[in-house]
Amino acid sequence: MFNLFALLVVFGAIGVVVSKNVVHGAMSLLVSLLGVTGLFVLLDAYLLAFVLLLVYAGAVVALFLFIVMLLDTHGDQRPGVKHLPLIASVITGALVVVGAASFIMHARLPEPILANVPVVGDSLKHYAYQLFTTYLLPVQVIGFLLLIAMIGVIVLSRKHEEAAS
């Protein structure tokens, strides 16, 4: 099962990059996200899987599609690949391959003793308790983060009339 979902994730991600049509790209993103959801289910993290499905697959990808339709950006011919970026991409790609290979060769996680691992990811109640006790401060900070993000969007997108001074 893991391999199936992992393949979905990887091929979806590749699809996002290579597809010429933007709508196909968004659909590939959806496939990739479904794979990630499957991985979370395999880890018994049902809440995360559900939230990912709802927020990303449901809302974000739908938003992407909506914007694509709105902007009507299809059929833009991509500019030809120049030499320097090509060389840089080849080098970067080679580095990624080397990095992945060295991870496969050297990376060893200690074998977890499953009996000692508390299963906490499947309970909504547990998340709620954590969020409102241990992690209350980050939750509050994120509240402010969302506030300034909202204010920023308004300030940057609104037509500003001349300040009455």
């Binding site: 060893r108 996680l109 508390p118 109640k125 308790y129 401060l137 402010f144 300030v155 940057l156 300040a163």
Partner: protein, 504 residues
């Protein structure tokens, strides 16, 4: 709900001591108050709202300094998410002082543009509160959440002059680069979290690799772990983006040029200070991997000093110049951070350097905010021609600020560099010290080019562009004078501040 879990939740809730983060809370409330005032007050009174922010911040700064040692230093709160230390208190004062000065700068600079001002101050206050929490974080969740709050605030501020294509370009570049660096940082944190795993303590509380203490113990127990090394390097790369260290400095010139002048100052001083606060705390956690860290940081420091100074040599735009010279200052600070692994005094030297850099930078940015024309991104060296004749006050203040940045002997910047170099010498970084001294020599050239433009008539026969009279209100004059006097005074007498920042 099992009763023991309920007890755990209760003890977790009681360790959320909101009083310990009173300055941050007050800043957040002040920011909200500004928005409220904008709704309630009539339009004519809106221009006084930043004044409220100014007074509030000044009050908080005084309060923080008065209660400097009152919080239980060394104690953790919020279940180990925060740690209250002397270093944290120093950085809190640093961020509060810089946000205060940014508010002053924004009152000068934003008046020349038609952009909303209250929201600007609001975002500055939120960013400052997040930075103050960042400097005290003891847990990767707090670190990342506060760092993201800072970064997202900066995305908005950098593109704030949205009618200027430079500002928008800078915003886009900062967005992409910031997202990339956050991604690296997050990937590194994930690796470290995964490799450290989770342990259940004696009291039944689950500890994870997010906690700095747990991670530090794990790293000490498992030297040379491949995944941990990769994670450490990725975290360092993410932080290097924030401080603008080589090779992650590519975004600096364009973003500094396009961003509004107060934001450039905020980026140059507070964002860099935040990066160094994070760097100091994570290096403490990673200290058992110093065989990996030291070579990387040494090369990074040397390359940063050289690149910053050499690239700044050819700049004609003063914002790009100050950005690239800021890269070299990051290099000097990295040298101090490196030395702090061996010499205790180096930490004090880094703090002193940060404060000297703050004073000098805001002096220069204050002058830039006055000299800047309607196009904020195009501030060339030529605009400073004949500044001495048209406005001797600004020219003198500029000379003091630039001299301090260059490290000319009687000024604070010189003492900062001297302290860093002494600690580097004690720690035995002779090669790096040589490179740093070369860097200082190069930097004198371009800083003096700027001073020369301001003080001496240009050699070319074409008449200097019409210099219009620059009006300075008394508040800005007072702040600039205070900054310049402090810069000079700290060069002669480091007593209280020197002892205060270096005392552990």
């Amino acid at each position: 709900m099992p009763i023991d879990l309920l007890h755990q939740a209760h003890s977790a809730a009681t360790s959320n001591q909101w009083a310990a983060i009173f300055p941050e809370l007050a800043l957040g409330c002040l920011a909200l108050l500004l928005l409220l005032l904008e709704i309630v007050l009539p339009k004519a009174a809106h221009r006084h709202i930043p004044l409220v922010a100014l007074l509030g911040q000044a009050g908080l700064l005084v309060g923080l300094l008065c209660n400097f040692d009152s919080v239980t230093l060394g104690a953790t709160s919020f279940n180990g998410l925060l740690i209250h230390s002397h270093q944290g208190q120093v950085m809190r004062a640093f961020f509060l002082l810089s946000s205060l000065l940014v508010t002053v700068l924004s009152m000068i600079s934003l008046a020349k543009q038609s952009v909303p001002r209250v929201e600007f101050t609001h975002i500055v206050l939120i960013i400052t509160a997040a930075m103050m929490l960042l400097a005290q974080s003891n847990h990767f969740v707090t670190l990342f959440v506060t760092l993201e709050t800072v970064t997202i605030g900066f995305y908005i501020l950098v593109s704030y002059y949205r009618t200027s294509p430079f500002s928008l370009e800078a915003g886009l570049k900062y967005l992409i680069m910031g997202a990339l660096s956050s991604g690296m940082l997050l990937f590194g944190i994930t690796l470290l979290y995964g490799v450290a795993g989770r342990t259940v303590g004696a009291d039944g509380v689950v500890h994870t690799g997010f906690e700095f203490a747990v991670l530090g113990d794990f790293l000490t127990a498992h030297p040379g772990n491949f995944l941990a090394s990769a994670g450490i390097l990725l975290v360092l790369a993410g932080i290097a983006f924030k401080i603008g260290a080589f090779p992650f400095q590519i975004w600096i010139p364009d973003v500094y040029q396009g961003a509004p002048t107060p934001v450039t100052a905020f980026l140059a001083v507070a964002s860099k200070g935040a990066g160094f606060a994070v760097l100091l705390s994570v290096l403490h956690v990673f200290s058992s991997y110093h065989e990996l860290l030291m070579p990387v940081l040494t090369v990074m420091a040397a390359a940063t000093i050289l690149f910053g100074n050499l690239a700044a040599l050819t700049q004609q735009n003063v914002k790009r110049l100050i950005g690239l010279s800021g890269v070299s200052h990051a290099g000097f600070l990295l040298l101090g951070v490196l030395a702090s692994a061996y010499v205790p005094m180096a930490l004090g030297a880094v703090n002193f350097y940060l404060f000297a850099y703050l004073l000098a930078s805001f002096t220069v940015f204050g002058v830039m905010a006055h000299v800047a024309g309607p196009n904020d991104a195009e501030q060339e060296l030529d605009h400073y021609n004949g500044l001495m004749k048209s406005n001797p006050f600004l020219a003198t203040v500029l000379a003091v600020g630039l001299g301090s940045l260059a490290g000319i002997p009687p000024l604070a910047g010189f003492m900062g560099k001297l302290f860093i170099f002494i600690s580097a010498y004690k720690a035995g970084f002779y090669g790096l010290l040589g490179i740093a001294i070369c860097g200082v020599v190069i930097s004198i050239y371009y800083y003096f080019g700027w001073i020369k433009a301001a003080f001496f008539a240009s050699a070319d026969p074409s008449p200097a562009p019409e210099v219009k009279a620059i009006s300075i209100n008394w508040g800005a004059r007072l702040v600039l004078t205070a900054l310049a006097v402090l810069t000079i005074a700290l060069g002669f007498y480091q007593g209280p501040l020197g002892a205060w920042v270096s005392n552990r």
